[in-house]
Structures are given as C-alpha cells and as structure tokens.
Symmetry: C2
Subunit: 265 residues, 2 copies
Amino acid sequence: MNEPPKTSPADMSPPRARQAFRTGLRVPTSGYCAGWTQANLIALPRAYAYDFLLFSQRNPRSCPVLDVSEPGEARTSIFDGDLRTDLPAYRVYSEGEFVAERDEVTDLWRDDLVCFLIGCSFTFETALLQAGVPVRHLEQGSNVPMYRTSRNCRPAGTLHAPLVVSMRPIPADLVATAVRVTARYPAVHGAPLHVGSPEQLGITDLDRPDFGDAVEIRPGEVPVFWGCGVTPQAAVMRSKPPFALAHAPGHMAVTDTHDSAFLVP
Amino acid sequence: MNEPPKTSPADMSPPRARQAFRTGLRVPTSGYCAGWTQANLIALPRAYAYDFLLFSQRNPRSCPVLDVSEPGEARTSIFDGDLRTDLPAYRVYSEGEFVAERDEVTDLWRDDLVCFLIGCSFTFETALLQAGVPVRHLEQGSNVPMYRTSRNCRPAGTLHAPLVVSMRPIPADLVATAVRVTARYPAVHGAPLHVGSPEQLGITDLDRPDFGDAVEIRPGEVPVFWGCGVTPQAAVMRSKPPFALAHAPGHMAVTDTHDSAFLVP
C-alpha cells in the first residue's frame, strides 16, 4: 500500500492535526492548520472556576475566553476532540509548582475540572503574513518567545498574576500595519499592548524568554508585544490552586472554529 | 439664593445624574449624560455568580459584562456611586417572580450579592444621532421598546433564558449606516441581531413590547433589533434563583466610563 500523501502543517485539518498530536507528534503549533483558531488551555477545579472566569473578564487582553467546558468534560463546543490527549504537550501544576510536562493527561483527569480555552495570538499570524508582515518564529521554525513582565494583571478572588506577553520583531515600517491587522482580532489578544522599550515591561534580556524560544531581532526591527494566554499559567504559579493542567507554552489546542469568527469587520 | 442653572439631561455629569436619581427622579435614562456609558444591573447571590458569568460568556451579544463587584459591594471600578440607590428604579425578584419595583434597595441588600454591570445599547445612541440616524424613543421622550423573543440563549449551569431584544425603527436607507455605527461597539451589544421580520423572532405585535414603551414606526422604516441587557432578568424569571435585584428596564446605571472606551477603532 502507498503512504497517504504528505500534508504540510499549514494545510492540515484540525482533526488530522489533533490525531497527529494524539499519536505522539510533539511540536509547537504555530503555522499548523492555517485559518483554524488555536487556543490556550487551562483546566482548574470547579471551586476555582468563578475566580478564573472573573480574572478573564478583568484581563481580557491577556485572557480572552473563547469557550468553557462543563465540569469533567474534555471537549467544548468549539473543540470536537479530547482535551486530555489532543494537544502536543501539557504542563501539570500542583500547588502552583510546575511538576511535569506530559504528552497526555488522561490519568490525571478529575471530574471537577473545568477547561477554559483562551484566545491565542497564533490566530492572527496568518493575517499578518497575508498583510506582508514577517513572523520571525515561523521563519525560524521555532516557538514564539514569551516573557513574564513586571506588570500585574487585575486580581480576581484568589487569582493574581503578572502579565505575560508574546513578542514578534517587526520592521519599523510595518509596525503600523501589524497594529492595524491584529487590532481586528480583539478576541485573540488584539492590538499590541506595547511597542518597543522592553525595559518598561521589566524585560531585561530579549534573548532569554521565560517561555518558548528566542528569535533574531534584525537591525531596523522593533520588538512588539502582545498579551499572551500563558498568563493563566503565571496566575497558577503565583496563586497556587491545588491542581491545574495547561498546554505546554506554544503547544496549543487546535479548534474547529475558523479565525474569521474572531475578525471584527 | 439663586437656583443653580438648569442642566439638560444630555449635559449632566454621571455624579449629578446619579444624585438626581438617588433623590427621587424616576425616568428612563436614555438621552442622559451623553457620551457616558450606561449599564444594565443584575445582582445575584454569590452561589449563582459562576453560572451567570458563564451565561454571559456564552451569550456575549445579549449579556456583555462590563464590570463585576466584589460580593456585598455596591460599587465597581467603573461605577463610583452606590448601586443600591443611584439608579432611577429597581426591580426585585424572589424565586424568579417579579415582586416589586422600588426607588432604592438598601434594605434588601445582602452581603453575598454580586453585581454585574452589563453593556447597554443606549451607549451607541449618541453615535447613531451623530451619524444622522434618528432614534425614535428619544424623539418621543419615551423608553425603548423591548421584546422577549422565541429564541433561546445558550444555557449555563442553572441559568437559561429567552433572548430579549431592543427595537429601533430605522429608515430603510439608513439601516446600513445603523449597522456600521453600532458594529463598532461590540461590548455594548454591537451590530443588530436581526433586521425586519419581527415574526421570525416570535414577536407578534410590535405595539405591545414586553418591557418599555411602544414607539411609532413610520412608512419606509424597518424595525431593527439589538441584543438587550434585560436578558438576565428574563433568565432570572425562567431559572428562579432565590433572590435577585435588577434595574427597572430602561432605568440604567450611569457609569463613570466614557463610551469611547468601548469603541473599536
């Protein structure tokens, strides 16, 4: 029998990508399933669900909620897969400590877990490319760099967190284009929170991101910062709920919703 | 001593309007405090707060949450007044039954009440007027007509509700303008949910709104329907939590936030 024809990551359908991740492929998902919305995952016990939903309402730029599961359910209305297995990699937190990175988390599942899918800036990268804005981590084939900043989110109940941002170096003459293009996607972080001056965010070394990979910043390029859906994991680390599951940064949930659903016309 | 100079409702500041409402003025707030955001109020026991916040997340067109109080607190970050006294009129619900309309609700306050401020379509009426789109209930000096529809919102936990809409008759050649103008305010109901054909929404008689006042529809005008923040009260009536407080329809909380905060550029 012949092998099925190879499909490029960008051309994969969400079910096919999820199958690949479920059966062992462990890669950052940036560039996969072009046009299909990717999401950050945070799963928390039901007792923390109100605080988290309120935290999201108060910090919509970093935590735009796309969908919420029923307690114990591993799928949502926009994710027709299994949230315990269909992401490339997971992080496990116990009392706020990052204790393991895993391929799947079926054995750790609990009936009281509520899954929150949070918008991801990968969603607008197709639109950036179409507007002629280069996306460096895609060119490099690496994960986007993410940084814990010195700015605090608005707290909610037991949850407090530093703001986490993703960074893309943008040629100075394309910064305005990048702002305009991404502003049209407010549900997936929207416009940049900050352009240039990483030191104002308390970022001392762009070459040492807190999550993901460093990328080259070329002469004439400006570091541009967007809100990042890893912020909930920073909240878990600081606020220490007894248990939490999350995607590994950059290794997202590929949903069955199209990016155009989040485009403001 | 001379009386202070009269201020038109549109020119009032939020603190001044709240003082007037606190001291007995009982009128619909459409047209008051031009440019300042008005909000629907629903206050529910903390035990129902997660369900309500999730209901809002699942029904953002009818229930866009602008702000949430801490349990027992009668103010929020965008409302520097007293939510128990500073609205023109309140409705009280017990086990889902509408039991009283009141000028203030201080004596009914409870330490576990969480106040949700929900975006209100009055917010974009200034923008409609500036775009040359007439707003009939302002011309008539009456309350906006609101209708319970035959469409259901997505339920969340214990909460389920019919969609409630507000209606404005718009001249046919200005419907597109009204859509474009209001689409720029997604946090306060945004674009219309429905244009024309009230029977498709299960509305049999536009002259008999479920809340507010009927308005004249002139030849050549089309009834245009927007999501309405009275939907939470419809949820209370159908889902019957033990206790709830709300604004009287059309008698909103005037906040200290400017409409421009909700404008998508």
